[in-house]
């Protein structure tokens, strides 16, 4: 009886928990949305043969686990070891070159001697603090393919935890075709490369970004207006125009769901946008459409008029994209100013 019951329960388990994991299916569920079908590259970096032949299995597996905090690539802690292995095997199938294996030694270089070398040879692309220059990370979803691969953030804790000294040294020696990183073979001595790696290990991630304390951890900015509904809406539009936003036609929150005569006309969304800013933002993160356009809702309820906007800093946090957080902190101030002006 016991055994039958157990067997039954076993059968009820989702297949992912007992069958051998299917690497292709896992890749398509978790990775292809960013890295594209067969790793051709999208918002995530390409994982083509040219790239894969320089990356060890250990690095890829750890990258899947650690992700890249603040650089879009999520961390997949919930995948089992067997699942990570299955994804790896599937990815490797795109390349007929074997996976490189690097010795697990800590290179004993001198970071002090490595620093000037970094400033001379690497800073231009990877930035003074190693956080990678230029905006965006991988290719954006819709940008021209020509300016695609951005320099890696060498100070990223996810990178630091995933890349071994020997692998980093190998990339310095050989360069990377995708992204145009030059080879330093013959230009730097082995000792110099070792010193460089030692310096890279001293790079630290930039401090976390916070919004206004007052609103931290709250889902929305919410303010009560001392004015009537119509007046509040007019004030809000004026304040938005004053802040250089373009305003879209107003929509009722229930519009499209309720009949025209039935729709609650005291619940509206004022949608606004700044197209120049939008261009900049979509370069930073093409997934922003999930939260655009900006919207402040005006709602009358029990005789009170309230203004509500999503807390843009808290929402930006969902994207794991540090650059976006920087913009969100600025936006937060602007939106709160506008809301305050409208309710003054």
């Amino acid at each position: 009886m016991k055994r039958t019951l157990l067997a039954l329960l076993f059968l009820l388990l989702p297949p992912s928990l007992w069958a051998a994991p299917d690497g292709k299916a896992l890749y398509e569920t978790h990775c292809s949305v960013c890295h594209q079908t067969e790793g051709k590259g999208g918002i995530g970096l390409p994982l083509t043969q040219e790239i894969l032949e320089q990356l060890s299995d250990d690095y890829i597996a750890k990258t899947i686990r650690n992700g890249r905090p603040g650089r879009i690539m999520p961390s997949f802690y919930e995948l089992s070891d067997a699942q990570v292995k299955a994804i790896l095997q599937y990815i490797r199938g795109w390349s007929d070159k074997p996976a490189p294996v690097f010795p697990k030694v800590t290179l004993k270089g001198d970071p002090k001697r490595g620093k000037p070398l970094y400033m001379k040879h690497c800073k231009k692309c990877h930035g003074t603090d190693g956080s990678g220059e230029g905006s965006g990370t991988g290719v954006t979803l819709s940008r021209e393919r020509e300016f695609m691969v951005m320099p890696a953030a060498l100070n990223n804790p996810g990178f630091q935890r995933s890349a071994s000294d020997a692998m980093i040294a190998d990339i310095i020696r050989r360069g990377r075709k995708i992204g145009h990183m030059p080879s330093f073979e013959g230009k730097l001595s082995e000792q110099q490369i070792t010193d460089l790696v030692a310096f890279l290990r001293t790079l630290r991630p930039p401090p976390p970004i916070h919004g206004m304390k007052e609103w931290a951890g709250r889902p929305v900015y919410i303010m009560e207006s001392p004015y009537g509904f119509k007046e509040t809406v007019a004030n809000l539009k004026e304040a938005l125009t004053g802040a250089n936003f373009r305003i879209f036609p107003t929509r009722y929150l229930e519009q499209g769901l309720a009949d025209d005569f039935d729709v609650n006309k005291k619940q509206i969304g004022i949608r606004f946008c700044n197209f120049k800013e939008l261009y900049h933002l979509l370069n930073i993160d093409p997934r922003l459409g999930t939260v655009l356009p900006c919207r402040i809702n005006v709602i009358e309820r029990n005789g009170k008029v309230i203004l509500i906007s999503p807390n843009v800093v808290e929402v930006a946090r969902l994207f794991n994209n540090r650059e976006l957080m920087e913009v969100a902190v600025v936006m937060e101030e602007i939106i709160l100013d506008v809301m305050e002006e409208a309710t003054l």
Binding site: L12, S142, L253, N264, Q267, G289, P293, R301
Partner: protein, 152 residues
């Protein structure tokens, strides 16, 4: 014995995609077609399409190759009404939306994971259930889209 059953039940309940903040899938279809199928799918799950927001109007001017970037808004009137009445502070996140972003012959769909809001709303017992429900609908809709094969 009881423990084994409990353990197994717990395992079964464990969300396999826990900890996601954006729900995203790649669809092997052009964007316009994807949008059409998405509207149908959303309706199959009992939602009404509220409207489609065009974001791609000015994009070409800004060197974007993407010709298609739209957001589909959808909801259930009774649900939206009930929630706004009891919890107006949820207004900014209603109706639900999915962004439809062209990537050559394929399309990327992205939505905010409603369960990511649970913490911000202080793990409110009623809202948590609502967020979980939306999460599972969105997840199921996106999964249907990901595996959709157009009839030849």
């Amino acid at each position: 014995m009881k423990q084994i059953i409990l353990l197994l039940l717990l395992l079964m309940a464990a969300p396999l995609h826990a900890g996601q903040k954006l729900l995203m899938v790649r669809v092997n279809m052009k964007a316009q077609q994807t949008m059409d199928v998405l509207k149908e799918t959303v309706r199959e799950y009992g939602y009404e399409v509220a409207h489609v927001q065009r974001c791609d109007g000015g994009m070409a001017k800004f060197h974007y190759k993407s010709d298609f970037y739209r957001v589909l808004f959808f909801g259930k009137l009774a649900e939206v009404r009930g929630i706004l009445k009891a919890y107006p502070e949820l207004a900014p996140f209603l109706p639900l939306k999915i962004a439809v972003i062209a990537e050559k012959n394929q399309t990327v769909l992205a939505a905010m994971d409603p369960t990511a809001l649970a913490r911000l709303y202080g793990h409110h017992p009623v809202l948590d259930v609502q967020f979980a429900r939306w999460h599972s609908d969105l997840q199921a809709i996106l999964e249907e889209m990901r595996t959709f094969r157009k009839p030849e």
